[in-house]
Symmetry: C2
Subunit: 303 residues, 2 copies
């Protein structure tokens, strides 16, 4: 099978044809028409076999997650996803693997009306890089640099579940918080997606916004599954440090509480206030009773 | 060194700041403003160690080529390059390697006013994926599907030099034919870049345009270096089959000869007419005297 046969048999069969895609897969480059008066958000993420997933992971889950981690980055900017390109490096052609991979990738892509417009297929150690592009009204991006002292700090969903899945050698299939990101435009000051662990990712907001934070670790949203599987102390540690949750962490002024409640409840996105932004530059983790948190805070390190 | 330290020390130091880049490296996604009334061309290409370059290849050359192969795809559409993202997978952090890689990448990026707006850094077997985005006036893309019977077939530059470099274990540093692609808007019917060998890449035009071609192999432009290094017959074979030349192959109506001469001479891009598009669907390779070419035509196969 040539590269071109594989592309037409597996990758060119998506049931999503956006009107703004003039030429998708099949030429030297894709040609798309960006919407008038919008900005574009662009992100890229790589999953490497043996690093980001076990060689035994299901191809469907790998395909799904390849797109999910990129859509999560768009969500953290408040962008509406539109197009994606995909660079797949494979040691050999395995038709079943390719079909399952594409099924997982397209399941999520179709759900968000995201069209695969191009890509690359190469021989080599298993690794996948996707790039996603989304739309944003001018100046509405949720940046890491805009947190303000006294902002409330929130997270969506529950934390630590991806870490628990990993302990069971399963590949977590995160739900990118696209609707939440869009809903938070004009409301949140700063946002980031939690891919490296809450403590590490919140630190990026603090650093870029030149502020600090106080986090109540007893307020962290933990799923029933996580609390059933682990002692509470260990569950909190996972929530703070395990990567791969892909929930959003965002900050907003106190007077936005009602707006957040209204917007996120409408789209059925759960959220929890976990702390407050401070002028002092440190990240302070404490329990409900005010005692300092003594556990680990170190998130995922790429090297 | 953390991922973030590496990015800020090496990748965030480009001397190119485009006005249409609102937020580059450093957030969940980059934010850019596309130009009004233009289409976007998007492409992605991967280079894998041991497949696309020898492990001993110079990092500068790898960095240069990573961008060059993507810009070449934009050139083949007639697009003007603007932004690039870069996903680098590395087995370990080697500062000298990273500096040389970035020097090569940015040397070319700065030449074409292309800004690196984001990327990903992961641990794993050495592999680099870049995605380039360029601009095009509405409807001006040079597609593979628009060749017409009686069109003249041209190639830019000389062919086979990349194949010769490979025989000497060197990494060819192609010049992306950006100016030529832009100059050919509205003049050429179809275009492709020669990355898999002329015969294989021309076949894509023929297939997508539903036409055939007659090529005079004695008309193929061969460099003095190639003819000095190899017997003429072997040089022709390399020109037809060796990938990695990254010249453009394009077709145009006969009455565009003067326009092509004028446009390509102005930008000092050499070009050669090598054949003609036919109604008959076959690709026929012949010598100057009309005899059939008997050599190999098989290009690079990805699997």
């Amino acid at each position: 099978m040539s590269e071109f046969d594989i592309i037409s048999e597996f990758f060119a069969k998506q049931h999503c044809h956006r009107k703004d895609v003039m030429h998708g897969i099949g030429d030297d480059a894709a040609i798309v028409t960006p919407p008038a008066n919008q900005q574009l958000a662009m992100t890229t993420d790589t999953l490497v076999a043996g690093i980001h997933f076990l060689p035994s992971a299901k191809a469907f889950a790998i395909g799904y997650k390849t797109l999910a981690v990129n859509l999560s980055d768009l969500a953290a900017m408040g962008a509406e996803p539109a197009w994606v390109t995909l660079a797949v490096t494979l040691p050999e052609i395995n038709k079943h693997w390719l079909q399952d991979f594409c099924d997982g990738f397209f399941a999520l892509a179709n759900e968000y009306d995201v069209q695969l417009i191009g890509g690359n297929l190469a021989r080599g150690p298993l690794s996948i890089t996707a790039q996603a592009i989304g739309f944003l009204p001018q100046g509405s991006a949720l940046l890491r640099s805009q947190a303000k002292p006294h902002d409330l700090i929130y997270v969506t969903g529950t934390l630590g579940d991806a870490g628990l899945a990993l302990m069971h050698s399963q590949l977590h299939q995160p739900t990118p918080r696209i609707q939440a990101g869009i809903a938070l435009r004009g409301i949140a000051h700063a946002a980031i997606d939690i891919s490296d662990g809450l403590a590490a990712d919140l630190s990026h907001i603090l650093q870029q916004s030149n502020v600090g934070a106080k986090i109540n670790v007893d307020a962290l949203p933990l799923s029933t599954e996580l609390l059933q599987a682990l002692p509470r102390e260990k569950a909190i540690e996972l929530a703070l440090t395990a990567g791969d949750d892909y929930e959003l962490c965002f900050t907003a002024a106190k007077d936005q509480q009602a707006a957040i409640e209204k917007k996120l409840t409408t789209i059925k996105c759960t959220y929890t206030q976990i702390g407050i932004i401070t002028k002092e530059l440190s990240l302070e983790l404490h329990h409900q009773d005010g005692k300092h948190y003594q556990g680990r805070t170190h998130g995922y390190e790429h090297f």
